[in-house]
Amino acid sequence: MARVGVFVCFCGANIADYVDVPQVVEEVKKIREVKYAVEYKYMCSDPGQQMIRDAIVNNRLTSVVVAACSPRMHEKTFRKALSDAGMNPYLLEVANIREHSSWVHQKDKKAATEKAMDLCRMAVAKSIANEQLFEISVPVTKRALVIGGGIAGIQAALDIADARIPVVLVEKSPSIGGKMAQLDETFPTLDCSQCILTPKMVDVASHPFIELIPYSEVLELQGFVGNYKAKIRKKASYVNFKTCTGCGACWQKCPVKVPNEYNMGLDKRRAIYTPFPQAVPNKPVIDAEHCTMLQKGKCGICAKVCQPGAIDYTMQDEVIEREIGAVVVATGYDLWDPKPYEEYGVGRFKDIITSLEFERMVSANGPTNGVPVRPSDGKVPKNVVFIKCIGSRDEAKGIEYCSKICCMYTTKHTILLHHKVHDSHSYVFYMDIRAAGKGYEEFVHKAQVDTHATYLRGRVSKIYKKGDKLMVRGEDAQIGQVVEVEADLVVLATAVTSPHDNPELARLLGISYDKHGFLSEAHPKLRPVETAKAGIFLAGCTQAPKDIPETVAQASACAAKVCGLFAGDTLKKDPMISTVNTEFCSGCQNCVNVCPYGAIVTDEVPFGHGSKEMRTVAKINEGVCQGCGSCVAICRSMAINLAGFTDPQIINEIVSI
């Protein structure tokens, strides 16, 4: 018969003031299975834990109930005490008589005491049905997959690889670098983006522990923490990277001109191209959509001029598999399309551009060699209006969140404009200036002083054309008047949105995303880089808008998490997961259907003892199961149970109140 020990904590005065603890002890002593019950001032203290250990040994206890604070607080502490006394730690139950009784019924000691007794009784009843559970060990493949080769992916990959853990870095486009490679200078220090990024890109390419797979995407991720198997599609580049020397003869001769994505379409690239001069790997790919050879079978110039003969028009997409143990998702962000702002004339007026277009223009390697010009006539603008919160904080037309970085980069743009066009003048329409960050407020302040930019607090209501100028009408809320600014160029600070393919990616990875498409972290405060799925981590803007320092910090945090995960040869896992009693499983596979983690697979067992005929049953993949219990509640045959929360345990609680 069960022999339960009950340990009731005073928690100093926290419990004892509102619950008559000795009375609780007297009451639980009446329960048949309770062989030992005692109260103590602080059960979680060393002497308190010692009492538990002694009692386990002296009274040959089969399970232990600690009536104290929330199990979310000290369950682990007491489990350890059980372990130390040679008892299986999962034979512990915690009765939460502090958060659930003494603290919330401070005016009624009698009721609080009675409730505490009931809670103890429930815990005792549950503990009787507790079973010994053992931590699950899962072998680990010590290789990480990083999805996305922007600054987040680069940083995570480098940090992991520096710990001598192999990394597979998958990048969608032909080169790593991401959005940061498009930036000219970075706030608040105005250091050159390329200068600080490209060395890291080169490091990635040359790192012995990093396998860089550019121009590719993840197709499928199967398995579970420590044991994932990823299918990666390498898109056909039509260039053999092994033989290509990156000389550039091909793209110089290519006759097809295509808008250049890297420069936001402000100039042209060829059909065979490297995205930008510092690209890593610095090998060209053929844009099959625009290549006349691949489309019509005519041309073939690049193959002719390529001395190493690296061009291969017959190349096909290739699917490769990698076994990995953890995933870092760093897919970055998209920019919001400002089309809904029709009253601004977006799309109609050529001289309205987005911030990233402006960024490319002022960049030394940009389409205009670092000089901002009006797209309409190529003239250098004198009066430039910057409008912030385009899409951000606008529930009606855009999204309700703040994109976080626009205040700062717009400030940077006023400085860059001032540097490039000395006689220019910036006007900034803003709602608030959000400059929380190290050196940010100072940066904004300095910019305002240095550039003499005019900051107008208010929304722009309309932009219309007057001659070759754009008239920007808006409200200056500070003086409470409508103002009109004559602008040569209007720059829209468009919002940061989640990558459009995030939902699809989330589905294939089996993780969740929020209503804006940003991937969801496991806990907003305490687990900001983990996802709910073990072994998958988030870095950078794919989780929420953030600036470069934050992105890099999160990427390094991911790396730390991955390294931590890979620290041992096996992973230890909480054993509170589902188990299938195959004898009763009828093989309907509804559990397979309901499991959010794909942790249930099917198995074949003989029909009866010694039978050759097989039937299908469910099987839990211990490594994947997170112990939610969805499968348990939908199992009509009662063939699945969730260790730690079995039907008998819960029913025992219900009937013992």
């Binding site: 929330s70 199990p71 979310r72 607080m73 939460n96 502090r98 958060e99 659930h100 009784s101 603290w103 919330v104 019924h105 401070q106 005016k107 009624d108 009721a111 609080a112 009675e114 409730k115 009931d118 809670l119 429930m122 993780i511 969740s512 929020d514 209503k515 496991a522 709910a532 509170m576 309901v594 959010p596 983690y597 997170q626 112990g627 939610c628 219990g629 969805s630 348990v632 509640a633 939908i634 969730l642 929360f645 039907d647 819960i650 029913i651 609680e653 219900i654 009937v655 013992s656 109140i657």
Partner: protein
């Protein structure tokens, strides 16, 4: 005072007047990640609520099999509260969506069979909603108190 038609329609059988010192027992089945954490927050915030609720911790609202509710009402409980994460916040991605469907049907069925709809109640309480948890418990307790002791289909050895 005579009962209105509306009241008549929703009066349970047998309509027994509760003894003056009667207090209902509410069983609260809470998901570990949101509602249980929320109830802990209620405690740490020292927000007071009626002492009638007895809380059972489950990992997720999707772990709650409808027969727990039936069993509770048949044995010790006068009312049941099941609480989980808000839609979209499920720690296990989709558990509460499955649970929500079952709860709706279970609640309707129990009501169809004679249980007042307030006997079984559901709430979404996040880990941050300590005050909401206190409010929810107060409401459920008050509702059940109004209904009086539950006698329908109780087990014979039920006594408390």
């Amino acid at each position: 005072m005579e009962a209105t038609t509306d009241q008549l329609v929703s009066i349970e059988k047998p309509a027994i007047t509760a003894p003056p010192d009667w207090e209902p027992v509410i069983i609260g089945i809470l998901c570990n990640w949101c509602s249980y954490a929320g109830s802990d927050l209620t405690g740490t915030s020292r927000l007071q609520y009626p002492p009638n609720i007895r809380i059972i911790r489950v990992p997720c609202s999707s772990r709650v099999d409808p027969w727990f509710l039936v069993k509770s009402l048949q044995t010790t409980a006068d009312g049941v509260l099941v609480s989980g994460c808000h839609p979209g916040d499920c720690h296990y991605i989709s558990g509460n969506y499955y649970a929500r469907r079952r709860f709706l049907v279970t609640k309707n069925l129990l009501n169809f069979l004679g249980f007042h709809e307030d006997r079984v109640q559901f709430s979404w309480v996040s880990a941050a909603e300590g005050p909401k948890f206190a409010k929810v418990v107060a409401k459920v307790t008050e509702d059940v108190k109004k209904l009086g002791p539950l006698h329908l289909y109780k087990k014979e050895n039920f006594s408390k």
